[in-house]
Each structure stands twice: as C-alpha cells, then as structure tokens.
Amino acid sequence: MTTGKDNQLQRSRQQANHVHLGLMSIGFCARIAGYPIVRMYDNPEKSFWAQVWTEEMYDCQGSPAYVVAASAAWDFGGDIKFPNSEWQQAPSVERYPVQSEEDVYRLELPDARTAGSIPFAMEFSKLCEHHHRPITLSITSPFTSTGNVCSLDRLCRWILKKPEVAHKLIGLVTNHLLQVAQYWVDTFGIGHVNLAVGTPSESNQVISQKQFEEFAFPYIKELHEKALGMGIRRILCHICGEQNLNLPYYAQIPMGNPGIVSFGHEVDLNTAIRYFGDSCVIAGNVEPQVIQNGTPQEVYELSKQCIEKGKQSPKGFVLMPGCELPPMAPPYNVYMLKKAVNDFGWYD
C-alpha cells in the first residue's frame, strides 16, 4: 500500500518527463474500494482512502478531494439528498434555500466553518495534510453555486428579467466561497491549499457568451484574484461542457502560476492550448461516455489522440476524463487511459 511523502516524491520524479494521468474520479473510487457511492460524501475518511487506493491502483498523480457539487445549497440552509440508489451519482438538492426574490434580500451569509458540507470537507482536508497529500478545497463557481442556491431555472429567468436580483445573489454566494477559502488558508497556511473550481452551469448549452460576460466572468475573476491574493497556491479550473464561446473570458482570469485548466471533450485541446498553454497546465478531455460505453480499444485510441495534442502544451498536460469519471465505467477501460499514457505520454 503506497502512502506517505517519500513515495509521492518518488512518483513525481519518475513522472517528470511524462504526461500525467488524473482520473477526476469520485463515485468510481467507491466501486474500487467496495463502498456504496454515498460513502464518498458522508464519510470523509472512507472517501479519502478510496481515492488514495484508486490512485495507487492506476498509478496516477491525483489530488484527493471532497466534492459535493450541490454544497452551496446545503451551506445556505437548503436540503440535500445523498445518493441512495444504484442510478444516483452524487448528492442532489431536495429544497432550494432561495425560492423567491424576497428570499434573496433576506438571505444571510452562512458560517463558513460550520455550514452544510464544510465540516466534512475540513475533516477530509485534515486527512490530506496528515498523510502528506495536496490539500484541495473543491467548490463550484459563483454562478453554478448560485444555481444550486435558488435553482438554475430561476437564476436563468432572473438574469433576463431581474438582473439586479441575480447580481445580488451571485455576489453573496461569491463572498461565501471566499470566506470558505479564507478558512482553509487560515487552517493550513499560505501556499498550502489548492482550489478546484467547477463551472458546469456556465456552459453555452445553458447561457450565452453575453450572459457569461455579465453574470459569470466578473465573479469567477473576483474569486480567483482574491483567493490567490489570500494565499491559495494554485487553482484547478474545470471548464465543464461546451464553453468555446466563453474561452476568451476565462483566458483573462488568473489561475495561479501555473494553474491547471481542464476541459470537456467539447473543447478541442489545440484550442485550449492556444488560449491557456502559456500560463497553465492543460488537462482533459477523454469523453466520459466513451470510457463508460466504449470498447477498451476506443478508449485507448481516444486517449492517444488527447495525449498527442496535449503534449504540445508548453506548461504540461494531464490526461483526464472530460468530466467526472463515470462511476460505473469498466475498470479495464479506465486502465486504457493509463496504458495510453505509458505508451504515448513520454516527452522527447
């Protein structure tokens, strides 16, 4: 069983001339460890070890993280349902804390130390510190988090009909996320915390470039600038789904030096390198449904194509699924990512 600082350093040295592999896996780790998916969310210790064991099994350099995409709803006082059936992948919102315009003006910032999922996430991060793993605070972006606080369809209506209400709520949510980040920096120290930010609701399958410019971009920029300013080490920004129209804006947002920017299969890696290659490590973007439903050969070929493009990235490349690794993906298909890295991932 590989754990500990020495082992991690050894692996880093071995992989220095090599494309890295990241699995972006949560539910899949539960399968590897023989747990129901809910353990990844209701038991930080089991969640931590399941992720460590999965990394060991696939020999990949990951960064274990406690990830609840719907956490903002929970933090602001909504109700969350943990996954409890074979078809559920992650916690989901059962009751949104904000259901009307009046609720927005009544809403107060939650306690950034005790609200919702925060105690679970802190326990997880302390395990990371204790076992010499990178400490990563994982959140969703201000716009996506706000969609979890008031429901995405309500937020979509407000950005056209009541933009002032939308701005008020997104601003409040941004302040909450920054307070949580400050709590992590206060606990673990300046330069010891990474921030992972997911941005699924910003997808151009949902909002336009113009709407992104007004309701997402300024808040992500504020979040990143202030987080880096308070001592966050680097940011892993997962630009989820079809976001080609938004890329010029993301390129103006600081990610740390270097940050990591990961993409879904909808963004071509050559495009990603053009926008971010000089300042960020690029990560992505094997289509998750191919990993889940394709043949091993299809996964291997797709991974090879990603590596061949990604290797051109000046600051480095991490082969990853384009979004969370499907929990039910065949383990041998997942191994095809590793095999492709071994076969094609060496730098000259």
């Binding site: 056209l160 949902v206 336009s208």
Partner: protein
C-alpha cells in the same frame, strides 16, 4: 365576424409575443382572440406554436439560450392557459401523444422541461412524469396512454445506465412503442447502443426527430 387581416394580425402578434418573451402581450392578445370570436385552436397552432417554432430555430442557431427559452415558454403558457379551455374536445383525440420524464436517480429537469414545452407548443398531448421517475412508471404510463413516443432524459453517467433498462421494460410490454432519449451524457451512438429509436441533441430538434421516428417506424410496420 373578424376580418382575415385582423385574424392574421392577432396570430402574428401571438407569435411575435412568444419570440419576444412578452407574457403580458401574449395574455392580452389571447383574450382578444376569444373576445373577437377567433378559433382558439387556430390561435394556438398558427400563433403561439409558430412563435415557439421560431424560438426553437433561434436556440438551434445559438441565438437564444436556456434563459430566453424559459421566458418564451412562460409567454407560451400565458397564452395556452387562456386559450386551451376553449379548444374543442374532439381536437384532443387526433393529437399525437408523448410520455416524458427524467429517469430515476436524476433530478435534472430543465432539459426535459424544454423538450416538453416544444411538444406542447407543437400541439402534442404531453404526459409529464417529472424527474427521478421510477422505471416502471414509464411502462405504466405508456400502457395507459398508448402514446406515440416515450421520451427519456438523463443528465448523469449513472442515471443514463437506467435508460437501456427502461427501453427493454417498455418494449417488452409494448413492442410498437417508439422511444427517444436525450440529455447531456447521451449521444446518437449511445442512443443506438441502448436500443432507442430516436435521439435529439437539443430541445429545438426534438419534435422534428419524434416525427421522423414515427414516420420511420410506421413505414417499417407497413412493409
């Protein structure tokens, strides 16, 4: 008797009101339609529905996005709420029917709702099962309604695995059922792999795909 010009003016106003997501204008024009004795079904199909067709085109062309679609739908329903009670019952009998829902384990329903709106606007009778729908509910509803299409949505890579199971369950009980699927993780290839008859990449394409599936299956049956 309302003149042809006035009727056209009202129908165009309804269509334009939906496209401009002007709920108040659509509601007022719908009341005008009734007051002026224009057939409610005509106003729905040649006013509101035409507007929603244009909205679907704008969405496919990426000129409209989900926020615009939702507000256009609000305008559509403002009109439908006023006009629908005045449509004749026999007109309901000849309509196409669809059972729709987001599959068990999945609470994402914006996409499903947008698809539902497109079918309602196109004059279909929609049996909306909601979200996190138990698999057997699709079967029961299809057996009860004998709908022309069963539409199943999933947004997660785990919940999408329920789709082939639902398809098998529905087809076992009703071999003629036509099944469409959609949702972010789905692709046409996956839809075929899972045994679906149709797939729409987005809400704007869903009605066209459904009509194509029905035509294809009916043609195959006649052969």
């Amino acid at each position: 008797m309302t003149s042809i010009e006035r009727t056209r003016e009202l129908l165009k106003g309804l269509s334009d009101g939906v496209v401009a997501f002007d709920e108040e204008a659509v509601a007022k024009l719908s009341r005008d339609v009734l007051e002026e004795g224009i057939d409610a079904q005509n106003a729905i199909m040649n006013g509101l529905a035409i507007g929603m067709e244009k909205v679907a085109e704008l969405y496919v062309k990426k000129e409209y996005f989900v926020p615009e679609l939702l507000l256009c739908a609000d305008a559509l329903y403002a009109g439908l709420d006023i006009l629908k009670p005045y449509t004749k019952v026999e007109e309901q009998d000849v309509k196409l029917r669809i059972v729709i829902g987001t599959v068990e384990g999945d609470i994402h329903d914006i996409g499903k709702n947008l698809v539902k709106i497109m079918f309602e606007a196109a004059g279909w009778i929609v049996y909306d099962l909601g979200y996190d729908v138990k698999l057997e509910r699709f079967v029961e509803e299809q057996l009860n309604t004998k709908s022309d299409i069963v539409a199943i949505s999933a947004m997660m890579s785990t919940s999408m695995l329920a789709i082939p199971k639902v398809i098998e369950m529905v087809k076992t009980k009703d071999s003629n059922a036509a099944i469409m699927v959609g949702g972010a993780p789905m692709t046409r290839n996956t839809a075929e792999l899972y045994g679906a008859d149709g797939y729409a990449d987005n809400a704007g394409l869903a009605v066209r795909e459904a009509l194509s599936v029905i035509a294809r299956l009916r043609s195959a049956t006649q052969k």
